[in-house]
Symmetry: C2
Subunit: 168 residues, 2 copies
Amino acid sequence: MELQEAKLKFIEAWGKLGSEWGINRTMAQVHALLLLTPDAITTEDIMEKLNISRGNTNMTLRDLMGWGLVEKQHRAGERKEYFFAEKDAWLIARQVAQERKKREIDPILKLLNELSEVKGDEKDPEYKTFKTSVNGISKLTKNVNKALGTMLKADENWFWGSIFKIFK
Amino acid sequence: MELQEAKLKFIEAWGKLGSEWGINRTMAQVHALLLLTPDAITTEDIMEKLNISRGNTNMTLRDLMGWGLVEKQHRAGERKEYFFAEKDAWLIARQVAQERKKREIDPILKLLNELSEVKGDEKDPEYKTFKTSVNGISKLTKNVNKALGTMLKADENWFWGSIFKIFK
DNA sequence: TCAAACTTTCAATACTTATTGAAAGTTTCT
DNA sequence: AGAAACTTTCAATAAGTATTGAAAGTTTGA
């Protein structure tokens, strides 16, 4: 496979994966492009390579910066802004996990806690089922969340060492 | 909070969470309803409670059965079909993880392997960056996938014991 | 202060995905 | 075989998301 073909395939696949996991396809593709590009590039470059509009490119870059996946670069004597992505896979995973934890897991946990408090008649099957389901999900989510929190605080070496040595 | 209000909130939140993670909102809501319902219920019941059409209900139930989250129940002397959901949080998480691994992670891993094979000039920065990014993502994905695979095979007790005791 | 160079915004529009509902299909009973 | 009871399909449509592009905004240097 040619390098150029491989790059296109990667960008396409990354976009698809993103959309399957609730991340805007364009956002994933711009990210992929920046991952594969050695130096920082301009909005113009991105528009051209991915065939997307200026507006879309601008908003997507803003989102990516919001996720901490992309940074701006100013160059002395130049008016244009340049963008580049962090290329370390572990740091990328960390940022994405952190962002989704904050935006999605934390709110649902808050609700699950409230729902766990709901009182009712222990003899009522509706109540018993509600409690069983909510408590089970709540407990599991809390544990997953705790694990995620620990990983987010941890550094790369700890992660590769402690976690993956469990799995052969 | 009242039980009925709590149930509605749970269904709504579950639907939202689902859609944020690329799972059809209705599918997540039907699943939530079944989780909260002690006994098996009919298509008609679901249509009524969630205000959705017969067609939508039917297709959603089919999907849920495809994910192994819901089962059909036949009752002697009855023509109608009844549906119910597995209520154990761990089993649910397992099924969802298994399904997404198969549909989404396995294909991307296959591609990453192919992309890792691409040869090029080690002095070309484009090639070097491509290699670094793809290899990093590939390695991380492989490890996560391996971990997931082990967990899927493992039983509940192993999971709660071995994994979560790492995190305080 | 002006205007060129560049960035940001957002209403309009295109695209994607979900949903409806009625017709077609199936099963079961008499 | 016929018809009632129920399920499935799928073309049409609605709803939800993403994208465009041109106008407005900003910054910089002469």
